[in-house]
Symmetry: C2
Subunit: 278 residues, 2 copies
Amino acid sequence: METLKKHRCFDGQLGFYKHDSEVNNAPMTFAVYMPPQAKKKRVPVLFYLSGLTCTEENFMAKAGAQQYAAKHGIALVSMDTSPRDLGLPGEEDSYDFGAGAGFYVNATEQPWARYYQMYDYVVDELPALIFEHFRIDKDRVSIFGHSMGGHGALVIALRNPGKYRSVSAFSPIVAPMHNDWGTKAFSGYLGDNKETWKQYDTCELVKETNSNIPLFVDQGMKDEFLTDYLQPERLEAVCQEQNHPLTLRKHNGYDHSYYFISTFMEDHIDYHADLLLA
Amino acid sequence: METLKKHRCFDGQLGFYKHDSEVNNAPMTFAVYMPPQAKKKRVPVLFYLSGLTCTEENFMAKAGAQQYAAKHGIALVSMDTSPRDLGLPGEEDSYDFGAGAGFYVNATEQPWARYYQMYDYVVDELPALIFEHFRIDKDRVSIFGHSMGGHGALVIALRNPGKYRSVSAFSPIVAPMHNDWGTKAFSGYLGDNKETWKQYDTCELVKETNSNIPLFVDQGMKDEFLTDYLQPERLEAVCQEQNHPLTLRKHNGYDHSYYFISTFMEDHIDYHADLLLA
């Protein structure tokens, strides 16, 4: 694990790192914010999954989360949204497939299958690395994300009952099987059998899961992707039908940007802190 | 004045704009955050001047200032650090001269003199435009900045007694006549007569000014530019010698980045709010 840079921030330490991922067969980058409380004891950790095109840096630079993590004594981890610079055909051709668009799936279609194992990376490999190198309480882990990363966080929490204390999302893609982002990604990474897609679709998982983990979701109502890509009404409907606990807040006038995310970041960190520190 | 984009943020409105600057003979871009209180009344305004390479966006995206501006009911204004894309010789050759490096001076050397009038732009033209188009109380104006922008804020406040209620700076270049950034910029924009440089050098101005405005400065002690470019000891010495009010806080472990700025942003906005709202 190589340290790329370090910054003091809100009396804690923010580091950017690079390592050779085994599951992805490629170098991966990630960032860890350790709050000041970690100088003296193990702290809980909150993983953040970013949206399309992002690296681990967008969240750390723009979301304004460190101040709240420092207040509660919670570590933050963000990671790149895919391996990069592999020279794969089409890797850089579009913002919504290939580099920067791993969609948090384990790809089964070549050439992606060899390198794009982002589900296993986020669920297993990266946490193990974090637990090894940082003063983290591995029994206190939560997850959240934005857009493609909101999709990732909800899918991962629903598929791993008991692993995460809490989950939340900003503007998540809750039904990727039903929009162009999702169908492009899933057909490219997973092939044409839609049965295999269901394990990465939040609305489908709510029907199947044994987890009863509450879903906390914030959505801007002026989000430019609301109708065609985010479709929160699908999540509302399936959670009501399945009696799955959902808090969906709709915020008038807010869009898809980090200006929206930063506005409600304190609410999300407070929400996770309540459950992580209980 | 053209609106480039708008985002709701902390219940206020953040806009990015473009206009044809008369003093700069070129298009300029800037950003304005109007807090929720401005829906009902005129609000004070705090101008922020950015450092080398920055546009108006860095501050709005990374500094985390909007939450505190929203709490106090203060507007925020940031602007690009120079005109851009003029096709001038050498305009893009270095990060510390030309585009992104206007240094908040009125250039007297050609070809810069025709386009780089950033002092007049920040002191006069931009405020007049802001007062015309936004619900601002023009009697309640303060200014702050970072690095090259900290230099700009201190210089502008010292040279305009009574115009600003308060001034503060993160990691300012307090003695540009005595380091490579400043001498490169000043010789290029202002020519070789060092007497004319003094009007843009905070430490020189503290000797000459009629203003007694207190200077509030935060400096990270792990700042990579501390010794060679920022030299806060020069400001300490001259303020002590001249009995000019200075609060200089030295923060161990902090560097030159927005992770440092965001950490102490609340203190700065609180400081300005006390004086703007008095």
